[in-house]
């Protein structure tokens, strides 16, 4: 029997606000344990939460970017459970009446048509702290708690069970990560946990309407882990069912070292979070004005940018796609392209050279020594005939290493292209003299040797000769010899 997987994803993103969702403590990552805390995020007796409006603003951004319907009024709820890193004994989240609903995200898997994934809801909540067990400073029978992360704002993005393959799930996560990074609301770092994904997965016989029993997968620390874990679990479920077994509803943890998903220590009872409306907070009210204001501050989103690059700069689809993937790269490209006529030349340099340097040196765009202004200078120098394309690469590398302006490097290292025929004439004559056989071959009709002769001239001038000038002069001289 052929089985069809049905997958839904729940993604948590940590928001890049300066302060926490219900108090003014810093959200900065990596601080010393239990230093970014106050009575409020410690949940001391008598404290009350107050909503950070920036969190709502970020939620509006993501809602707009995913075409979600923003509820004019949404309410917070308490999700009750005991755990030492949850200081209040409940997490403030949203349950009934979430922030927004019915969003859509468009995905594309290689070789397939793009399709839309529906979002059930996006809601606001607070993060819990961290329990620390297996560290050198923790004794064997102890657990320490770091409360710094408590109250870090989160958005939970819940998709419909719309995915049919792990590849689609990965494409969705890639797209979602791109969107949140574009919006600047989350850094999308799955390794560090600022973006986390849980997956619900079941399989059913092809053609069957009714859903199978689902399991929940957790602990995937990268998009590729999500894909692998789903592959693993689909295979496991199909083999269980094929052998006449049944799937039990449970939570599995992905072990990325061993590439297996294993059941969490099972509890005999199911969790009952006893959700109820949070009485310490008033409803979140979002009016049209607020949405308009945020909407005006929205950056251009990846798909729109890609289309604009195609239209405005006449770039091929592929170029526009690559350049728009990362907002910082796209901005770099646009700045560089501003003062250059040949946009495709800029695109080539960014895709070829700039991305190479970023990858080799593991740099962030903002740390590049070769600024977009320098890049346009180099391209313009090629255009003016001041340097050749080959020399341009050399100049590029020197600028990328040193951060010195391209014109200064060209000057200092004497890389200016020789286009002046009178300056080239002597070298040319010498090359013709030293290679009589090749000259003869040309005269006999073997046009190809002209390439060899040009190479000789370029070598003699250390590559500085303008190839176009050399070519023209060489043809003229050889023609003279013919007649």
């Amino acid at each position: 029997m052929k089985y069809e997987p049905v997958i839904g994803l729940e993604v948590h993103i940590q928001l890049l606000t300066e302060s926490k969702i219900f108090c003014s403590c810093s959200t900065k990552f990596g601080a010393e344990q239990n230093t970014h805390v106050c009575p409020i995020c410690l949940g001391l007796p008598g404290v009350l939460p107050v909503l950070n409006e920036k969190v709502v603003e970020y939620a509006i951004k993501l809602a707009l970017a995913t075409n979600s319907r923003i509820n004019k009024r949404s309410i917070f709820a308490r999700k009750n459970y005991f755990y030492p890193d949850l200081p209040k004994g409940y997490q403030i989240s949203q349950f009934e009446e979430p922030f927004c609903e019915f969003g859509r995200i468009s995905i594309k898997v290689d070789g397939e048509k793009s399709r839309e994934i529906s979002l059930t809801r996006i809601h606001l909540e607070e993060d819990a702290g961290k329990s620390v067990h297996a560290e050198s400073f923790v004794s064997k029978d102890e657990t320490l708690v770091d409360v710094n992360r408590c109250g870090t704002p989160l958005l939970e993005i819940v998709s419909e069970p719309d995915f049919r393959t792990p590849k689609e799930a990965a494409a969705y996560l890639t797209r979602l990560r791109q969107i949140v990074r574009y919006l600047g609301v989350c850094d999308g770092n799955m390794e560090e946990g600022s973006m986390r994904c849980d997956a619900n997965i079941s399989v059913r016989p092809q053609g069957q309407e009714k859903l199978g029993v689902k399991t929940e997968l957790k602990n995937m620390n990268s998009i590729s882990s999500v894909e692998k874990a789903l592959d693993f679990e689909i295979e496991r479920q199909i083999s269980v069912l094929s052998e006449g077994g049944s799937i039990s509803q449970e939570t599995l943890l992905w072990d990325a070292n061993r590439n297996v998903a294993e059941p969490m220590r099972s509890k005999e009872y199911s969790d009952d979070y006893r959700y109820f409306p949070e009485p310490d907070l008033v409803p979140v009210e979002v009016n049209e004005d607020w949405i308009d204001r945020v909407s005006q501050s929205m950056p251009e989103l990846p798909l729109a940018k890609k289309q604009r690059f195609v239209q405005e700069f006449a770039l091929p689809e592929y170029d526009a796609q690559v350049l728009s993937e990362d907002r910082a790269i796209a901005d770099y490209f646009e700045t560089a392209a501003q003062k250059v006529a040949d946009k495709k030349a800029v695109s080539n340099m960014v895709m070829g050279e700039v991305l190479r340097v970023i990858k080799e040196q593991q740099l962030h765009v903002k740390d590049l020594k070769i600024t977009p202004e320098y890049l346009s200078e180099i391209i313009n120098m090629i255009d003016e005939g001041a340097i050749s394309r080959n020399i341009a690469k050399k100049v590029f590398n020197r600028v990328a290493e040193t951060g010195t302006a391209p014109r200064v490097i060209v000057q200092q290292e004497g890389l200016l292209q020789i286009s002046d025929t009178s300056a080239l004439e002597a070298t040319l004559d010498q090359v013709l003299q030293e290679n009589p056989n090749e000259v003869q071959a040309f005269l006999n009709g073997k046009e190809k040797v002209i390439g060899f002769l040009m190479g000789q001239v370029m070598r003699a001038t250390s590559g500085k000769a303008n190839p176009r000038s050399v070519n023209a002069l060489l043809r003229k001289k050889l023609a003279d010899l013919k007649s």
């Binding site: 009575p39 949940g43 008598g46 404290v47 009350l48 005991f82 657990t143 006893r274 008033v282």
Partner: protein, 479 residues
């Protein structure tokens, strides 16, 4: 007359003219606390800090720079945070908890130069109507030490009535200020929900809790309310509405006021003498020119049940943080996480608190939420509507505060349902978020005080203070 018999309103004249000073006053109260130790009204007393404050405020008074409440010797119910002092909530589980911050009300009161003399005993986590549910032992009624002072702000009411402090703060979730005020013969006000910031008030039931004053006079209540009221950035549920000058409502007449008597409040279970006291107060108001109108609050009979579902639901969640993990009581020799939770909470909480946590957990559980919590929310709305309808015809309501006068210690402790009925006339006010004040008006045959309650429209404490002040002035001659 003994100095400690006076309210702050009167004492402040003597302080202003330097007839007495804060230091003497404070020392006098410390002596009274010693003498009244058998009442068990205090959990902690601050002689050192209090003396320093008294000196400081005496200097301010001398230089004419003192605040509005300079020299007020205030006791604070032990579930309101005072920085660097214990905040036990009357519970073993917080018996070692020192709060690192001031509640908003404490900040405001300190700015007006009150002197905090100590923290008062109370029913554990404000759950109780007799002050017998405290880890620190029962509080006794100063008027008859075999009787309860009421609860949960029993320590506050007993201390004010017994002259162990001049004024006190209480908290009222279902009657916890008004009922003990009635039992001890003092004034107690529960303000409109949102009138006073709850920041720093340890939560029992967040949607019902309010801080309020317990005082010897309506005037002191008006003064304290003026200082404590107002919106607070630290409490999203606090109301940013104008704060009236409540003291301006003092000394007024009641001519032309329409005062409602809700007929459902005069039914079975109401002590004859209490009923007579309310009737008498109505007669006096009538003869002073007020119009007395019978009104109906038809959903009154559901108030207690509604209250015990909603309050315990919120409590079960509010009290989850006391788990032994980060602060407060943790049992020794913990085996594992669950063991720590179960034993710390079993040993740390008293019987009534455990009963309410279990009730609340039950009504929020999957499968019961709709039948209990959701249904109770709907009834709460109906109760609110009852009051809104009544207030279309009257300016305020006059009712008994409690069905009886102070009962004997031990009399109801084993019968929670009877105990819960002590709050039958007060809980609706919390459910509707309205202001209510209890003012001592008469005494029963045994000489125990009887308070009457005035209930106002939301954010109209002015009217009930006006009527309470009038009844206070006209009470003595009738008791």
């Amino acid at each position: 007359m003994d100095l400690v018999e006076l309210d702050f309103f009167t004492t402040r004249e003597k302080l202003a003219t330097r007839e007495i000073n804060c230091k003497e006053l404070f020392e006098t109260y410390l002596q009274r606390i010693d003498k009244g130790a058998h009442l068990n009204a205090f959990i902690s007393v601050f002689p050192e800090n209090g003396r320093k404050r008294a000196d400081e405020i005496d200097r301010k008074l001398a230089s004419g720079k003192a605040g509005k409440l300079a020299g007020m010797i205030l006791g604070v119910k032990d579930l309101i945070s005072v920085r660097d002092e214990l905040t036990t909530c009357g519970s073993k589980i917080l018996s070692n908890f020192v709060s690192p911050y001031d509640a908003t009300v404490i900040r405001k009161l300190n700015a007006e130069d009150v002197i905090i003399i100590g923290k008062m005993n109370m029913d554990e986590f404000a759950m109780g109507s007799s002050n017998e549910n405290s880890f620190f032992g029962a509080v006794k009624n100063p008027l008859d030490v075999d009787r309860v002072p009421g609860g949960s702000s029993g320590g506050s009411a007993a201390a004010v009535a017994g002259n162990l402090c001049m004024t006190a703060l209480g908290s009222d979730t279902g009657g916890s200020i008004r009922q003990p005020a009635s039992f001890c013969g003092v004034v107690g006000l529960k303000p409109t929900y949102g009138r006073i910031s709850r920041f720093g008030l340890v939560a029992y039931a967040s949607s019902l809790d309010q801080i309020g004053p317990v005082t010897k006079s309506v005037a002191d209540t008006a003064l304290l309310l003026e200082v404590m009221s107002g919106g607070d950035k630290l409490d999203s549920t606090s109301a940013h509405v104008a704060v009236q000058k409540f003291t301006a409502a003092l000394g007024q007449d009641v001519k032309g006021l329409k005062i409602g008597l809700p007929k459902e409040y005069f039914s079975e279970g109401l002590d004859r003498q209490v009923a007579d006291a309310v009737s008498l107060s109505a007669d006096i108001l009538k003869s002073a020119g007020a119009e007395i109108i019978e009104v109906s609050l038809p959903h009154t009979e559901y108030a207690i049940a509604t209250y015990y579902i909603l309050a315990t639901a919120e409590a079960s969640s509010n009290l989850a943080r006391y788990d032994g993990a980060r602060y407060g009581y943790r049992v020794p020799d913990v085996v594992d996480l669950e063991d720590m939770y179960v034993r710390s909470r079993t040993e740390g909480f008293g019987a009534e608190v455990q009963r309410r946590i279990m009730l609340g957990t039950y009504v929020l559980s999957a499968g019961y939420y709709e039948a209990y919590y959701r249904k109770a929310q709907k009834v709460r709305t109906l109760i609110k509507h009852d009051f809104e309808r009544a207030f279309q015809t009257v300016d305020c309501l006059l009712t008994p505060t409690a069905p009886t006068t102070a009962f004997k210690i031990g009399e109801k402790i084993d019968d929670p349902l009877t105990m819960y009925l002590s709050d039958v006339y007060t809980v609706s006010v919390n459910l509707a978020g309205l202001p209510g004040i209890s003012v001592p008006f008469a005494q029963d045959g045994a000489g125990l005080p009887i308070g009457v309650q005035l209930i106002g429209k939301a954010f109209d404490e002015e009217t009930i203070i006006r009527v309470a002040d009038f009844l206070e002035r006209n009470a003595d001659s009738n008791s």
